[in-house]
């Protein structure tokens, strides 16, 4: 599909990685830095072809550490920028994800999850990086993570991820998995004019008055870029609103780290998205995300057919975690079933919010995801 210097729109038959790439371009991403890794490689390959058509940059760096650093650099130069990787690369990126958080660099990190730890299972799906996405870098912070469960969502959520990153000046992650990445599906792409692209806030004051890390009411500072004449400083050190290091000041550290967390927490309602199917009257609610949610949905439908009041809560936003939604369903549901392709990661968040409501965890990994039957049985068991 090369040579067409235009955004896709209409119906297309794509695989997840390509959909992701197209979503990024549609969102205005013009910089990609990455390093080849299965099962995310196709994103890089596709962007290496598409980026130049939009005057954008594709660069393959020497490793994922460098990729993440370059992404931040490009972001500070004013381009919407991203990288894509899988578990091992994601680990290497954590250092500079921390830097992106600290310097509030808008950027998108796509992690196509595979089986770990370490090199693990390059060609099989997993959901094992959910916690790393949240806590992977040292220190206290909040990020945003989205979980697509279809090729369509690989497009829309990537697009969304950029808008969120730009709005909140925070690294935003797309936690896909090997199946969705490599799966081919029909994707409906709205025409550009129907796509709402969000750009970062620019300073409204003269360079002399500009304080690069002074937040507005939404706790997010406006962002000048290099070369715009603001001559600002940014650092990974604890810094004041000037961006100058103040490593000895407990007050500065408290104020800064607090804000970095709260700009996400306090805006959680605006950020969080979930899909709720038949949960209003449900006794058993399945909480599932990513590819697993698709088995879960058919399981729920089968359960209803059997007369079991089952429902599905699918967190589209994983971080910040949709606490209120889970809490609400927990009020009337008898039980919550959580199938995950790991030994139990997001289930902990569910349990935390479910309070007294029992939570059944259905773990499966190292092979293809849960079948609807497996989940159906678990629903029956908890009915």
């Amino acid at each position: 599909m090369s040579g067409k210097r235009s955004l896709l729109s209409g119906a297309h038959f794509l695989n997840g990685d390509v959909a992701c790439a197209e979503g990024a371009i549609a969102a205005g991403c013009r910089f990609f830095a990455g390093y080849p890794i299965t099962p995310a490689t196709e994103i890089a390959e596709h962007l290496s072809e598409r980026m130049p058509e939009f005057g954008g940059i594709y660069i393959q760096m020497e490793d994922e550490i460098a990729s993440m650093a370059a992404v931040i650099g490009a972001s500070y130069s004013g381009l919407k920028s991203m990288t894509a990787t899988s578990g091992p690369g994601f680990s290497l990126m954590q250092e500079n994800i921390g830097l992106a958080v600290m310097t509030e660099a808008p950027c998108v990190i796509v992690d196509i999850m595979r089986g770990g730890p370490s090199t693990g299972q390059p060609t099989l799906p997993g959901q094992q990086d959910v916690m790393q996405a949240k806590w992977g870098s040292h220190g206290d912070y909040e990020i945003i993570a989205l979980s697509p469960s279809s090729v369509q969502e690989m497009f829309t959520l990537t697009f969304e991820a950029f808008n969120l990153a730009e709005t909140y000046r925070v690294p935003t992650m797309l936690l896909g998995d090997e199946i969705i990445a490599h799966m081919w599906e029909k994707v409906l792409i709205p025409s550009p004019e129907n796509l709402k692209v969000v750009n970062r806030k620019k300073p409204k004051v003269a360079p002399a008055e500009y304080l690069p890390f002074k937040p507005d009411d939404d706790l997010v500072p406006s962002m000048a870029c290099f070369g715009e004449g603001y001559r600002f400083h940014a650092t990974g050190l604890t810094h004041n609103e000037h961006g100058y290091p103040q490593t000895q000041s407990s007050e500065t550290q408290y104020k800064l780290v607090r804000r970095l967390c709260e700009k996400i927490r306090k805006n959680a309602d605006r950020i969080v998205k979930v899909e709720e199917i038949m949960v209003e009257d449900a006794d058993v609610v399945v909480v599932a995300y990513g590819i697993v949610a698709r088995s879960a949905l058919s399981a729920v439908r089968k359960a209803r057919a059997e007369g079991i009041k089952a429902g599905l809560l699918r967190p589209i936003t994983i971080w910040p975690f949709p606490e209120t939604h889970v809490a609400d369903i927990a009020k009337h549901a008898k039980a919550i079933v959580v199938p995950e392709m790991n030994c139990g990661q997001l289930v902990r968040e569910v349990e935390r919010c479910a309070k007294t409501t029992p939570v059944a965890f259905l773990s499966k990994f190292g092979e293809e995801p849960h079948t609807p039957l497996e989940i159906l049985e678990e629903i029956r068991r908890n009915n």
Partner: protein, 283 residues
């Protein structure tokens, strides 16, 4: 002597005066490098709005905070990778990295050789003080054999990098080495570097009396500078492989000065071609 009203320092417009005085120890060469850099900017009349100073971690890493330009203080060793993003995203910007030998060549070594190989338009000013100063004087990739550091208490057994040789071999288009005593030539080199396309590298041998000198019979900055004076020989455009650094011989000078298309130029030319092509296809 007539007492004069204290005027403002002529170079202060290149500095973030509100960040001054800098954190560096008495006799530390970092201030001299900053000074030479400011001199170079002054002589070049560089547009400060188009200049980005980037540094990594370490004493000299603070430089980014002291220059009155856009500046970024990255994680340890990542300044070059970060700068790669900055430069590619906006080729109009002049990018100067001021960082230390440990930052650029130990933890950041991989980024250095690849940026040089790509010949991306980044100018690297490496201040080599032979050790990790900020953490109290541990051995690093440039610590001379047998030198005493807090982590080589019996003398260093590692062979140091010859940075100019490394840079030349990796493909840099401009390579020079001076000491902080060679302020004039250093300033000239910085000017030259900033006017060149592609990846450029200057190594500055710099005194670190407080944590390195003290342990190696060079108690004060003056001792170290006098040592530089005695030891250094200017051998411009000699073989960088032979440009050794020993206590009685420091080969300084310009080693490489060649023209080579930069990565960003080549890449953006490609973009232009593709767009022409696609235009044709569209029409």
């Amino acid at each position: 002597m007539v007492v004069k009203e204290i005027l403002e320092h002529p170079l202060s417009k290149y500095l973030r005066t509100d960040m001054m005085p800098h954190i560096w120890c008495p006799g530390c060469g970092n201030g001299i490098v900053l000074n030479c850099f400011a001199h170079a900017l002054d002589e070049l009349k560089t547009d400060l709005d188009k200049l980005v100073v980037i540094s990594g971690i370490g004493c000299i890493g603070r430089t980014a905070g002291y220059t009155n330009t856009d500046s970024f203080h990255t994680t340890h060793g990542r300044s070059i990778a970060f700068a790669t993003g900055v430069k590619l995203a906006n080729p109009e910007l002049d990018i100067v990295i001021v960082s230390g030998d440990g930052d650029l060549f130990a933890i950041g070594g991989n980024h250095f050789i690849h940026a040089a190989r790509r010949n991306i338009g980044i100018k690297v000013l490496c201040v080599n003080n032979f050790n990790y100063g900020m953490t109290g004087g541990q051995l690093g990739p440039t610590t001379p054999l047998d030198a005493i550091t807090t982590t080589s208490p019996y003398g260093n057994s590692e062979h140091p990098f010859n940075l100019v040789h490394l840079a030349a071999a990796s493909g840099a288009t401009y390579v020079a080495r001076w000491t902080t005593l060679h302020v004039r030539r250093l300033t000239q080199s910085i000017k030259k570097m900033m006017q060149k396309e592609g990846f450029c590298f200057i190594e500055v041998i710099s005194p670190c009396p407080e944590v390195f000198g003290r342990r190696n019979k060079l108690r004060t900055g003056l001792d170290m500078m006098e040592m530089f004076k005695k030891a250094s020989v200017v051998e411009s455009f000699s073989d960088p492989a032979k440009a050794e650094i020993t206590s009685d011989r420091i080969v300084v000078g310009e080693f490489i000065d060649i023209e080579k298309l930069s990565y960003e130029k080549l890449f953006h030319e490609k973009i232009a071609q593709i767009n022409e092509k696609t235009m044709e296809q569209v029409s």
